[in-house]
């Protein structure tokens, strides 16, 4: 590997977790990143920051997923919090750097826009560095700063900026959009997230994994299984103790069940945004059916309290699994029937086709993930590229479309329902007998796990201290990557297309905000 001056490479972590690590000095960082051998399909996952004891308190890990089932980590230890920005070379690092600057006070030299990101100026002020652990402590006492002012406003005759949110009509998560226009079309859109920032990663610190798990599940309650699975898998990798086979296969089944429910909800949102209330209601009712079945067979409508480090907390038995497979088939075929009727409805197609187009190359630059990325031509699916749980036994069919428009995204969500149903039907025959938990007592160290959540690549990075408690947890959620790419998709489209494009992205605010 040709890397910048001073870089050395190494391997760390348990065997089941192949990560190639490049250690480098802060000054060489942009050169190292620029000279990484090209690998089409490499995906920037995020940036992990830790504050450790002096003399080199700053520890940063830049994470990529490689197309060959491994991970690539660029590891930097630095004496002071001034690190060169890599966002000019790796555009997907733009928001992760802004996040780290806000929470740790790291000045990323060369980044075009720092400040006011996670911690809104009107609530916290710039000197707050709440994630620092050694020096600076948990300080959030810094006085609130100025009222928020958009960083830019369109300068054109008749141009104006339309702020929307954070509170919307109806039932919407809180987020703010600043739409710049000179009339009909959106010239530029800004997304202001983190109104809902709860500081989940900070809340986990000092807790044992089984307590921190409760927080992981509630980062995004509608994809609780994916979050619990990523967290539990990271902890198990650290312990070197994978969950028993039956638990792994049941986790796979639960994850696919959750994907079906989540995708039905996303499809309902897309249909609703086009104003077709009859099919939208049909899909909302289908989602409720799945919620009821979740509670009937597993206890909780959103599958809280099931996946845990070491395995699963319960085993529903073969009858329930058969019933779930039958129910999944009933609901999915019902939803597919509605979707197929929609594909003959011109008023529906007109609003999705050639709208919100993200070409494949642009989707790669933005580092988009999940169904949204697959609708822009990439065969990117961590269930296949980096198998976890039981996916090596039941590799899923990956749905790819190339147009990158709203309709392509609709079709990917729709096709993934079929694929998930197929997986569930295979799984019920393949789940072996046996226990569903194994002891899991991890020692000090760090590990990470990436899963394919319903909305895309979700990575948990966990460091445990000598007592097996969370010292630092960093979550790299799929929605953050895709929110970052939303402005591209809406640029130059009309105002009335905005809610539709937004719906086809299937975004969660809670997932990104944490």
């Amino acid at each position: 590997m040709s890397a910048g001056g001073g870089a050395r490479t190494g391997r760390e972590g348990p065997e089941r977790f192949p990560a190639r690590i490049i250690y480098t000095a802060a000054a060489d960082l942009p050169a190292v990143v620029e000279q990484l051998p090209s690998a089409p399909g490499r995906l920037f996952l995020g940036l992990v920051v830790e504050e450790q004891e002096p003399p080199t308190p700053w520890h940063l890990q830049y994470w990529w997923a490689e197309p060959d089932s491994s991970w690539l980590v660029v590891d930097v230890a630095a004496q002071d919090p001034s690190i060169p920005s890599i966002s000019a070379v790796e555009f997907a690092a733009d928001w992760p750097e802004r996040e780290a600057e806000d929470l740790f006070g790291i000045a990323f030299a060369g980044h075009p826009q720092l400040g006011d990101f996670v911690l809104h100026d009107e609530d916290f002020g710039e000197s707050a560095v709440p994630m620092r652990q050694v020096a600076g402590g948990h300080g959030t006492t810094a006085a609130a700063g100025d009222a928020y002012r958009p960083p830019r406003i369109v300068e054109a005759p008749g141009g104006f900026l339309m702020p929307v949110g954070p509170v919307f009509s109806g039932i919407q998560e809180s987020v703010r959009f600043l739409l710049e226009t000179v009339g009909e079309e959106i010239m530029h859109a800004q997304v202001r997230l983190f109104y809902k920032y709860r500081g989940v990663e900070k809340l986990m610190e000092g807790h044992a994994p089984d307590r921190a798990l409760l927080l992981a599940e509630r980062v995004n309650g509608t994809q609780a299984t994916a979050h619990a699975l990523a967290f539990a898998t990271a902890v198990e990798r650290m312990a070197g103790a994978p969950a028993p086979m039956r638990a792994q296969m049941l986790r796979t089944l639960l994850a696919e069940w959750e994907r079906i429910r989540s995708h039905v909800g996303t499809l309902a949102g897309i249909v609703e945004s086009t104003g077709l209330s009859v099919p939208a209601n049909h899909l909302i009712a289908a989602e409720e059916r799945l919620l009821q079945q979740s509670a009937e067979h597993w206890g909780h409508r959103y599958l809280f309290g099931l996946v845990a480090p070491g395995g699963l907390t319960g085993d529903p038995g073969p009858a329930a699994l058969g019933a779930m497979a039958a129910e999944a088939e009933r609901v999915v075929s019902d939803v597919l029937r509605v979707c197929d009727r929609l594909t003959f409805d011109n008023s529906f197609l007109d609003r999705l086709e050639m709208v919100g187009v993200v070409p494949p190359a642009r989707a790669a630059t933005l580092g988009l993930v999940g169904p949204v990325r697959r609708a822009s031509g990439a065969e990117m699916d961590f269930r296949r590229s980096h198998p976890y749980a039981g996916y090596d036994q039941v590799p899923p069919a990956v749905a790819v479309e190339v147009e990158g428009d709203g309709y392509a995204r609709f079709r990917v969500f729709r096709r993934e329902l079929e694929a998930s149903l197929h997986l569930i039907q295979q799984l019920v025959h393949k789940i072996p007998a046996g226990p569903v938990t194994a002891p899991c007592s991890p020692g000090a160290g760090w590990a990470a796990a990436t899963v394919e959540a319903p909305s895309g690549a979700l990575t948990y990075w966990v460091r445990l201290d000598d007592h097996g408690r969370i010292r630092r947890c960093h979550i790299m959620p799929p929605s953050l990557a895709n929110w970052h790419g939303l402005p591209d998709a809406v640029r130059d489209y009309a105002f009335q297309d905005f809610p539709i494009i937004l719906a086809t992205y299937g975004l969660s605010v809670a997932d990104a905000d944490r």
Binding site: V167, R198, D210, Y302
Partner: protein, 237 residues
């Protein structure tokens, strides 16, 4: 027009008010006070948020703290579960009688994880069909009689929640939905979390659970208009 016929052909999915036996899965249930067998030892540490306590030979449940981690639902935990959904508690009298047939609700996401909001969305969907009770979701604060808040109040949402309340005409009521909106829930200790809607606006009806199912949220809204009272026989002013 074809969607109109499609709608006419589909079966009625709405749950009936008269059927006492609701389908399984409309509620996850909740832990309830359980007598301990004489001389039995029981470990309160099973609950990660100290919602369970041993009190003179019985397990007492402080449901306002429960985050539905489901750990005490395991049979070996020895805690009884009730599959009810009348979970709302009312702190103030309902709205005047004039509101009985129609109220407008404004929904504020003060930082929820998405699951509480999803349950509210289901409540307005075809299965629960909120508007058949004369309860409507409104986008305008000036029209709203009830403010429904979900999620712990984050630093970023504190001002928006307060402003939403202030913009509403009187009389008005606030319904806090989910353990987060009651006291911050699992996020209560967060540096970016105020903890509970009551820190910012006066709460009239509170419904715990993580998340409370649609029927529990419906129970809370009906209490606001004074319909929940007769059934439960509970009058608290």
């Amino acid at each position: 027009m074809p969607w109109f016929w499609e709608g006419m052909k589909s079966p009625i999915r709405t749950l009936s008010r008269r059927r006492p036996d609701q389908p399984p899965g409309v509620t996850p249930g909740r832990p309830v006070a359980t007598a301990l067998p004489p001389g039995a030892t029981w470990n309160p540490g099973i609950c990660p948020v100290e919602a369970l306590q041993e009190d003179s030979g019985a397990i007492a449940v402080e449901f306002d703290r429960c985050v539905h981690c489901m750990r005490c639902q395991q049979p070996e935990a020895g805690v009884a579960w009730a599959y009810d959904y009348q979970w709302a508690r009312q702190h103030t009298p309902p709205l005047p009688r004039a509101f009985q047939h129609s109220i407008h609700v404004r929904i504020i996401d003060a930082g929820d994880c998405g699951a509480c909001l999803s349950e509210v969305r289901q409540l307005t969907g075809p299965v629960y069909s909120l508007h058949r009770f004369g309860i409507y979701v409104t986008p305008t604060p000036r029209e709203a009689d009830v403010l429904l808040a979900v999620g712990p109040v984050t630093a970023g949402m504190k001002a928006a929640l307060r402003e939403a309340y202030q913009a509403m005409p009187t009389p008005k009521r606030v319904v806090a939905v989910g353990v987060c909106a009651l006291n911050g829930g699992i996020f209560a200790d967060g540096f970016a979390v105020e903890g509970g809607a009551a820190r910012v606006v006066p709460v009239d009806v509170a419904v715990g659970g993580c998340p409370p199912p649609p029927l529990a949220i419906l129970d809370a809204l009906q209490r606001v208009i004074g319909r929940g009272l007769a059934r439960s026989g509970e009058v608290r002013a």
